[in-house]
Symmetry: C2
Subunit: 184 residues, 2 copies
DNA sequence: AAAGTTACTTACTTAGTAGTAAGTAAACAA
DNA sequence: TTGTTTACTTACTACTAAGTAAGTAACTTT
């Protein structure tokens, strides 16, 4: 992958997280990288293709992280996961799901499918983490682990959105309660 | 207010909730209402003016509801509040905060301020509801009521976003746990 | 009856948007 | 050394966006 191509993808990632998929244009990428918009079309024929690459990169990063954390106790895995969100919060980003879910109806069918896949992958990982963590007495919670996983993801996602509006303290207040409620 | 003006506002509300503020255009409003785009500019000179009216309408509806529910027990007030979100979920809508927070950086300063005001208003109401509800033994939860209010709002907001991607069961799974966790 | 006001339409401008076709310079392969 | 591929640029198209100026028909006020 060429250097320019990588820069395009990571700038697109940032733009999706800061302005939203429909609010950024090729100019927002070509200007700072000092290339022409046709250079972006060379690497990604359509905007959807670019969006797909951003999503694929996120999915790869997810797999990478979960593999890296596999041996850690489940409560520490969850803290690492929260750490990713904390970092995004500090950078003024929202998560990809938080940015793309509101725009879902305007996305290409292939992007919609990929967003679904990403949601399923995150939910699967979180469910396993909570389930194993409860078995190993590192978490305390009632009910189905899948349901609880949905709640945790929902909170992390919203904490970034609300931090936009209410300031970064929102993230801290939400994530702290989240871990407390799980007895972590 | 003329009939057309009301129709413009409620269609804009719907479009913000379904496609997002930056993804809908005046054509999306003028075509179904069978007027020209200049008719929209007559009532709302700029897109920001239109967005402001949608936000003002939402704030009025919020005040209306909280006044209407004032005499109810707090757990029933919360269930009513969840009911508003359930209805949106069934209509394929997300909430205004969930739609506008990701686009926050692209909004006009006046819209940003109004979104902040809306967030503060909701948070204030929810904090009061939880605080009073705990005092009257209708809710059971630890910690600061304001923090817990943030958590509840965060969950309701995300439940609509995730329902887009994962289907409407996400809303039910999240809202059920929410009420259970409060002992409601 | 005259003058204004309301609620538009007609017709337009300006400034983008994603996307494309053809050309080019440099690196690489046969 | 020739041919091919890579990674672009130049220069463009077709379209859509928000926004505006001027005109008009109907209703309201004086």
């Amino acid at each position: 992958m060429s250097e320019t191509k990588e820069k395009i993808v990571s700038l697109a990632d940032k733009l999706i997280r800061v302005k939203g998929f429909n609010a950024f244009s090729y100019k927002d990428i070509s200007d700072p990288l000092q290339v022409k918009n046709a250079a972006i079309h060379y690497h990604f024929p359509t905007k959807s293709d670019l969006g797909m690459e951003v999503l694929d990169k996120e999915l790869r990063s997810l797999e990478e992280n979960s593999a890296k954390w596999k041996k850690l106790p489940e409560d520490e895995q969850l803290i690492k996961f929260c750490g990713v969100f904390r970092k995004h919060c500090n950078n003024g980003n929202v998560c990809l799901m938080g940015s793309l879910a509101p725009d879902y109806e305007t996305l290409s069918p292939e992007m919609q499918q990929k967003v679904q896949q990403m949601a399923a992958t995150i939910l699967e990982w979180m469910t396993g983490c909570l389930e194993q963590g409860r078995k190993h007495k590192r978490f305390r919670f009632k009910g189905d682990a899948g349901d609880r996983a949905l709640l945790v993801i929902s909170n992390l996602q919203s904490s970034l959105l609300l931090s936009r509006v209410l300031g970064p303290s929102a993230f801290n207040r939400i994530s702290r309660q989240l871990l407390e409620d799980l007895g972590a």
